[in-house]
């Protein structure tokens, strides 16, 4: 036997793929030293403020800024006349930067001010005189679809219908033994990120502008900014500032153009920070939905058909309504094998607040409806609701209503089995801690009138951008020796919004290049687009780009090694190694003064548009699944609900960072809980009635119960590392599970979320 003497040992790097290293920004965030977009400051900086329409629909007959300009400290007051190209939009340019002759929702920006103190700017905005002719707003989405409804966007073909997404699959008129129907509604949910819309625009000497901004997609902002400002790309440079949560609400522009306009006009840095009330008007919300469903099944419980009409209120401007509608329609039958499907999804213009992206993106609304239907069907069949779901559960090979075959693991039945098998929390006996009862320390009950219920839900979400979108990310990876040590630098434009992408990019670089020290460069537009931090896509797409760039860097290093006489095939633990993992040389020695840098644009496999008549097509690159079981206590006399426990099971393909996966499941489940029992923007005649955290309630630590979580890792062969997007699925299924549990406790039909006390006691 031959032995290799003096072979240095490979010290494997830690904190690679599959580990849970600590966030690189964690210490700064706990010290209060992490610079969020609202923390920025520049010498001689001005503050911007926005005048917004108080009316949901009105003609603007006159605008007088004279008095505002007279206020000492005011440096600029700008209107639509000052915007080079006044129409913008994330997907469809239909929205003015500043209103011209009409306002279509309450809160629409009309004018902007820059002043030396935020209060001065606000007072100046109050001095602007706007002559409105108030019009009757269109506030009912279904009525807005009728031919006689006032047309809100005359330039748009199809009246007020932003998109009709039909799905036609199987037979047109199938016959079933058992039929259940239902009409379901979902209220308008707010993303309620904690860091308000904010940023700092700094005019540059070259006539351009640098914008430091909290966003989900720097390059989409840049594209819209260059158009609105009529400036070339190299003059509008974006830098990601610290992002205080996103959840879809930072996909559309808010104050970006406004701050740049004011900065370019005054030649001074301008900071805009929304307060909480303004934030409720500053971003789009989750579409409220009206959904009519009909499910048919055999006597044995096999689904025969699903028919549905899904109407999504897109509000005043299109935003992402078309894509949301596509999701609701294509995923509208749920994670089930259904031979015949007829779904019509509609996204509609109204004068309600604009709606667009929020975690779950159309799949949330549909999930509440189809899961409510599955419970109703189970009752009609006298079957256990979980057994019915498992009997019809989608699996690898299932044909979706779009004709697309699920071509990777789809362990829907297993996820349901996992949450069902969890031991149920004990029903307490004896005196109860008030904090564990519905109503809490309000002392509304000591247990009398409290009934426990258990419910289930499972959902399906697409990962990544769908329907033929050219979905890609760009990564620049550089390897060099710094202070005698190999160091990797990773540069992307991807937005870290809290999810932990900064951690993940470093993990991938460590694993791929066998180097411990990784520096994550700030995200900006000095590297190509990373696409959006949404659709559960960044681990997949930017993760894929970072891996691909690392592979090219590795190939470059191996070429260097070959030139130095080493037949190396890989990198590990800071060494170059042979095919048998024998250490050939130190990476530091192979690199010397060389810098190996590669930039890669990486795409997932293409998807295809839906057929506009049949809705058939390979629309989604990946499906993701999660299931929940909810246990609730309901005070049936007062209509108060306390969620006692949530169990969740989710397939993540590969847990790239297991701790971060849990964090996504816990946080996503909490947002689903909010939609189930708490969160709704109350809109009356187009006017928001509760734009504050006093009146719009998100779950506190007392509302959110303990969770048990099962994470499955069934690799998707098409995805980097086999991973599956994680962020959104848990937001889908927690809502219907909680609603089902409340139904179980109360015996009520409950066809609407959020479930409010009056739905329970007034029913």
């Amino acid at each position: 036997m031959t032995t290799t003497t003096q072979q240095p040992l490979i010290t494997n790097v830690t904190g690679g793929v599959g580990d849970s290293p600590m966030r690189p920004d964690g210490a700064q965030k706990t010290r209060g030293e992490f610079a969020y977009s609202s923390d920025l400051w520049a010498d001689d900086m001005l503050w911007g403020a926005t005048l917004r329409s108080p009316h949901p629909y009105a003609r603007v007959k006159g605008l007088d800024i004279t008095e505002a300009l007279k206020l000492p400290g005011v440096h600029a007051v700008l209107t639509h006349e000052d915007v080079p190209d006044n129409i913008y939009g994330l997907e469809h340019p239909d929205q003015p930067v500043l209103a011209v002759d009409i306002v279509r929702y309450q809160g629409e920006p009309v004018a902007i001010v820059a002043a030396d103190h935020p209060e001065t700017a606000r007072r100046a905005a109050d001095r602007i005189v706007v002559d409105y002719e108030v019009l009757t707003p269109v506030t009912d989405a279904e009525a807005a679809m009728r031919p006689d409804a006032p047309v809100l966007h005359p330039a748009h073909e199809g009246g007020n219908i932003v998109r009709h997404a039909p799905i036609r699959f199987g037979e047109e008129n199938p016959v079933a033994d058992v039929v259940v129907t239902g009409e379901y509604t979902v209220g308008m949910q707010d993303q309620a990120f904690l860091g308000p819309e904010s940023g700092l625009a700094v005019p540059a000497e070259d006539g351009g502008v640098d914008l430091y901004i909290a966003t989900q997609w720097l390059h989409a902002d840049q594209r819209q900014l260059t158009k609105a400002l009529a400036m070339p790309e190299d003059k509008v440079r974006l830098h990601l500032a610290g992002v205080g949560g996103a959840f879809g609400a930072r996909e559309d522009l808010s104050m970006q153009v406004h701050a740049c306009l004011l900065a370019l006009h005054t030649r001074k840095p301008v900071k805009i920070v929304y307060g909480r009330e303004e934030s409720f008007f500053g971003h789009v919300h989750r579409h409220p939905a009206l959904m009519r469903y009909e499910h048919g099944a055999t006597r044995d419980g096999d689904l025969v058909y699903v028919k549905a009409e899904i109407i999504l209120d897109g509000g005043a401007y299109a935003s992402t309504t078309a894509a949301v509608t596509g999701n609701a329609a294509t995923l509208g039958a749920g994670p089930y094998r259904v031979p015949n499907v007829r779904i019509d999804g509609y996204g509609v213009y109204t004068n309600n607040p604009p709606c667009g992206a929020m975690r779950g993106f159309g799949a949330v609304q549909a999930c509440f409806a189809y899961e409510s239907q599955m419970d109703k069907l189970a009752a009609a069949l006298d079957m256990d609701p979980v057994d019915l779901r498992i009997r019809n559960a989608a699996e690898r090979g299932t044909v979706m209503p779009t004709g697309q075959v699920i071509d990777s693991p789809a362990p829907v039945a297993e996820l349901l089995e996992l949450v069902r098998a969890k031991p149920l929390p004990a029903i307490p006996t004896g005196p109860r801690d008030l904090r564990e009862l519905p109503g809490g320390v309000s002392n509304t009950t000591h247990g009398e009138g409290v009934v426990r219920g258990v419910g289930y839900g499972v959902g399906i979400k697409n990962v990544g951008f769908s329907e033929g979108f050219d979905d890609y990310s760009t990564a620049r990876v550089r390897l060099e020796v710094i202070a005698g040590e190999p160091v990797v630098s990773v540069h992307t434009a991807a937005a870290e919004v809290g999810q932990g992408l900064v951690t993940l990019k470093a993990q991938i670089a460590r694993t791929e290049l066998g180097v411990q020290r990784v520096q994550i460069q700030p995200s900006n537009t000095f590297v190509g687009s990373a696409g959006s931090s949404s659709a559960s896509r960044q681990s997949y797409v930017t993760g894929g780009a970072v891996r691909a760039a690392c592979e090219e860097v590795r190939a470059g290093v191996l070429e260097l090694a070959a030139a130095r006489g080493f037949a190396a095939t890989g990198l590990a633990g800071g060494k170059v190694v042979s095919a048998t993992n024998e250490v050939l040389a130190d990476l530091v020695d192979v690199l010397g003064d060389e810098v190996v840098e590669r930039t890669v644009e990486w795409r997932h496999r293409p998807t295809a548009p839906l057929d506009p008549v049949t809705g058939q097509g390979f629309a989604h690159v990946q499906y993701a699944f999660a299931a929940h079981r909810a246990v609730v206590d309901v005070d049936v006399e007062l209509g108060l609900v306390r969620v006692v426990e949530l169990a969740c099971a989710q397939d993540v393909g590969r847990a790239m960072n297991p701790d971060a996966v849990l964090g996504q499941i816990q946080g996503g489940s909490a947002q689903g809980l909010g939609l189930a029992v708490m969160e709704e923007i109350q809109v009356v005649d187009g006017v928001v009635r509760n734009p504050s955290f006093t009146d719009y309630l998100i779950p506190t630590v007392l509302d959110m119960p303990p969770m048990t979580i099962d994470v499955l890792e069934r690799a998707d062969p098409h995805a980097p590392y086999g991973l599956r997007g994680v962020g959104e699925p848990p937001t889908l299924s927690s809502t219907p599970a909680i609603a089902a549990a409340i139904r179980a406790a109360t015996g009520l039909a409950l066809s609407r979320v959020p479930v409010r006390p009056e739905h329970i006691v007034g029913a």
């Binding site: 966030r23 706990t30 209060g32 904690l194 809290g498 701790d659 506190t700």
Partner: protein
């Protein structure tokens, strides 16, 4: 107006303060301490929690003039330059930080709790932190962090 206030052990002065400004604004915009966060500025979210004379308050609800001659301790004043406070360290280690916007306020609120009541039960932790909203984490890992920090504080004391 001029406001004199002790912040994190140092005597500080802010000039040209408009009487309508809050302590939060003075800390963030006049004294260079943006650690306390501006999530709601309505006293609902707790992200601007600081100690005022040793008592946790929402800095957004304290008028600047009210702090004249008093003592404020912010999240920046908890750990040292070299070392995180055990509460800060626990938040990082347990993964209780995602976007982190709620973190400074939660760190101060948790710091108060674990020093006041290191043996707090889960129900007591939940009640103590019920004024601090977090939108990312679902709170599970924040509870882990507080439990870990409480252990560290007890060890420090013993």
């Amino acid at each position: 107006m001029r406001v004199n206030v002790e912040v994190n052990g140092e005597q500080r002065t802010a000039d040209d303060v408009w009487p309508g400004e809050s302590l939060l604004y003075v800390l963030r915009e006049r004294l260079g301490l943006p650690g306390a966060k501006n999530a709601c500025e309505q006293g609902e979210c707790g992200s601007c929690t600081v100690y005022l004379d040793g008592t946790p308050v929402c800095a957004c609800l304290v008028a600047a003039g009210q702090v004249e001659g008093r003592s404020v301790r912010t999240v920046e004043g908890l750990g040292s330059a070299e070392e995180l406070d055990p509460v800060q360290d626990a938040f990082v280690r347990t993964g209780a930080v995602q976007c982190g916007f709620c973190t400074p306020g939660l760190v101060v609120a948790a710091h108060d709790l674990v020093h006041r009541k290191p043996d707090a039960s889960d129900a007591e932790i939940r009640e103590a932190l019920a004024g601090n909203l977090c939108r990312c984490t679902g709170y599970e890992k924040i509870l882990d962090a507080v439990r870990m920090a409480a252990v560290a504080v007890k060890e420090q004391r013993s």
